[in-house]
Symmetry: C2
Subunit: 315 residues, 2 copies
């Protein structure tokens, strides 16, 4: 009899229950304006082979920077713990160091220390302290209210398309190819969007587990139903790319993962002020759906009920 493998959700449930943590995966508030987050990158599962060492190091910082941004928090300091394979070369280590340097400048976070270890995998754990604005209560995943609009910092489907190009030889040209591949190799956390707009959010999350999973997380934690507009959420060119390669565009947009857009809800009445703030900060603000009613955490797109399925380890 083959034992059923544990999936990531079950593992998270076991730890959350033992430690009394409601949202193990979310940013933790540890002081008045202080937040804390950690994210581990494992090269054998999280890194496409085309990713350069400096991009790997940079990417290990992206998840924390993005999670903090979704909560309106500016990074203060980061720690980097490294598990390095014994056969690692000096050049590789120097390139990793260069990637941390690049990330430190790009995301405005001081890397203040770390730890190095021998391991079978290349493992990078980034932990980050951040600070929310003084007048900010931190938006959580629960908090969406019926009547709210669902907003996002960008549109969806590029990273999954990029990974299809890099890992499965899907074909794409020109600007679409560049944008898709770039979003997979050098994801951009939406710091300006989150830091300037968080004060308007009733709930928020980053979409690193995929759009559908992120909306489900908000819907379940907030006990509401959410309606998402597929056409408004879909990035330009994804439909055509999917058709040309026999892929499912719906899958690329909703269940892709490794997407670092911020997804949030806010009262409709705050939209004009949010738009003005976004414009001033040079950010796009897309309306991609609405919160329908007190519910059971259902997410629909048109007549379709979206599955709560995104990228999960151990599956």
């Amino acid at each position: 009899m083959k034992k059923k493998r544990l999936d990531e959700k079950e593992i998270i449930r076991i730890f959350s229950q033992a430690l009394g943590i409601a949202d193990l995966d979310d940013v933790a508030k540890v002081g008045r304006n202080l937040v804390f987050k950690a994210d581990m990158l494992v090269a054998s599962t999280d890194v496409p082979p085309q990713m350069s060492p400096w991009q790997v190091a940079r990417k290990s910082i992206v998840a924390c920077a993005s999670d903090l941004a979704a909560k309106g928090a500016r990074p203060v300091a980061a720690m980097i713990s490294l598990g390095l394979p014994e056969e690692i070369t000096r050049t590789y280590v120097e390139e990793l160091a260069r990637g941390f340097q690049i990330a430190s400048r790009e995301f405005g976070v001081k890397i203040v220390g770390g730890d190095t270890n021998a391991a079978r995998d290349l493992v990078i754990d980034c932990s980050m302290i951040g600070m929310t604005a003084a007048d900010n209560r931190m938006p959580k995943r629960g908090g969406a209210k019926p009547g709210d609009v669902v907003v996002a910092s960008g549109k969806f489907g590029y990273p999954a398309s990029g990974l299809a190009v890099l890992l499965k030889g899907a074909r794409a040209q020109g600007a679409f190819r560049a944008a898709a591949v770039d979003s997979a190799l050098e994801p951009k956390p939406r710091q300006a969007f989150g830091i300037t707009l968080a004060r308007y959010f009733s709930s928020s999350i980053d979409s690193s587990d995929g759009l559908a999973a992120s909306l489900h997380e908000i819907a379940v934690q907030s006990n509401v139903d959410i309606k998402v507009d597929y056409d408004a959420a879909r990035a330009d060119g994804v439909q055509e790319f999917a058709r040309a390669n026999g892929l499912d565009a719906h899958e690329l947009v909703f269940h892709g993962g490794e997407e670092y857009e911020i997804v949030a809800t806010m009262p409709k009445s705050l939209l004009p002020r949010a738009r003005a703030t976004a414009k001033k900060a040079g950010c796009d603000l897309h309306i991609i759906g609405s919160v329908k009613k007190k519910g059971t955490g259902r997410v629909t797109s048109g007549r379709r009920l979206l599955e709560n399925r995104g990228y999960l380890h151990f599956s």
Copy 2:
């Protein structure tokens, strides 16, 4: 031509230089009283096979708790990132969770979140925020002055003896065996010692890289010479255990590692107050050496020059 492997010190040097961090390995000060530290445990290199899963989880918290204590900092919050092999069982995950629960209570640290991933190794990264007392400047590794005494929270040699029993079948009986094996499987960070006494320290470190390496770190960073008293530093029974098993007691005491005593220096004039504070806190305070003069970072024991050698990954 075989390439020379990078050792841990070279790797730390590359990252420290790229990121402009003086002490990559030390606790980082990130606010007035706020400190930050991370430590990664990799089961394939850091865990003896006799260690139970709950002890593995507990131990992954010890290093941060110990490092903070050496700086006089009380834990505030911890994040746990996990890399878990795909074949991990539910029982193992539940036992890990129980170990985190035990550590959380024992060390007084709230575990506020985490991250889970699939990896080839079992990897646990603990990052911890702590707080020093309001009137405390944080003792660094540099700061020892000629004339200072070297103090420690305990004596040395148990963990290396315990690992010799567990990993090499060395023989030991009764109380010595229990103390040695216990120190290897369930190391005790010296929180009360560090938190109550840090205000007296001119420099401090925990001895997790071994006593000799820790003293060298203080001597080099402080630009002083240190004299250590082998008889005062050696734990009871280590000499006899070494003799009975054909081992080198000097090696067990000085170059063992995985030892979580706090080693610190302080002006001789503060000793009476430090002793009174230690007594009140129920802690031992051992004088194990003295700071001799401005120097070049030499550490001697009697006429012997101690090598700067402790536990290093990649070697």
